[in-house]
């Protein structure tokens, strides 16, 4: 069964550094998402992306965050200058159509030191 693939599984970064989290959505999917889960808290929506632009974003997704689909297969989340509170599990998701559910990857655990 096709899967959403996320790399790396664990990323450790110094505070203030830039980090890029990578995702390969399922190949025929058109809608792409990032969520995060801070330890002990709920999974929270960050951003949705369709037709090469952001379609919706949460208040968490401020100017420090950006997303990109640099080619036909990858979908990335960049955090420009990381803070301690960015430490979380980041999940990528994708879906094939508006009436289809989102499928999630295994997540990237981001640890900011």
């Amino acid at each position: 069964e096709p899967e959403v693939t996320q790399t790396p599984s664990h990323q450790v970064t110094q505070m203030g550094q830039e980090v890029i989290l990578r995702c390969v959505p399922i190949s025929n999917h058109l809608y792409f998402y990032w969520y995060r889960q801070i330890l002990g808290q709920k999974v929270e929506f960050l951003v949705s992306f369709y037709n090469n632009e952001i379609s919706e974003k949460s208040e968490i997704f401020d100017d420090q965050f950006s997303v990109e689909r640099p080619d036909g297969s990858n979908f990335t989340l960049k955090i420009r200058s990381t803070k301690l509170e960015d430490s979380a599990m980041y999940f990528c998701a994708s879906r094939s159509g508006w009436n289809q559910p989102q499928h999630f990857g295994d997540g990237t655990r981001l640890s900011i030191l």
């Binding site: 998402y33 999974v43 379609s55 999940f91 289809q100 559910p101 989102q102 999630f104």
Partner: protein, 115 residues
């Protein structure tokens, strides 16, 4: 606006006994509802979805859920628990037939299955 309340943070059952994980939702429009499961060190796997068709929804691994609009509930059940069911379960609400862009998650229920 939409929200989800999972009424139990932890549920413990014996293998072979029924499972009930409770979820109540709030939504200002007709919701789509989902249950996702997360096994240790794995991602979120879709168990089942309700998108305004049949109110009793069957999912993978013998799980099912019933949408009750009058009670704003979407409880997850399974007749007989297996050890492999031990995981964290998330009730999720969204807007539109596929849930829309923004899914709203509950806090999760950790299911423990004992011999």
């Amino acid at each position: 606006a939409q929200s989800v309340t999972q009424l139990d943070s932890h549920v413990s059952v014996s293998e072979g006994t029924p499972v009930l994980l409770r979820c109540n939702y709030s939504s200002s429009y007709s919701p789509s509802l989902f249950w996702y499961v997360q096994h240790p060190n794995k991602g979120l796997q879709l168990l089942l979805k309700y998108t305004s068709a049949a109110t009793l929804v069957k999912g993978i691994n013998g799980f099912e859920a019933e949408f009750k609009k009058s009670e704003t509930s979407f409880h997850l059940t399974k007749p007989s628990a297996h050890m492999s069911d031990a995981a964290e379960y998330f009730c999720v609400v969204g807007r539109g037939p596929g849930g829309g862009n923004k899914l709203t998650f509950g806090t999760g229920t950790q299911l423990k299955v004992e011999l």
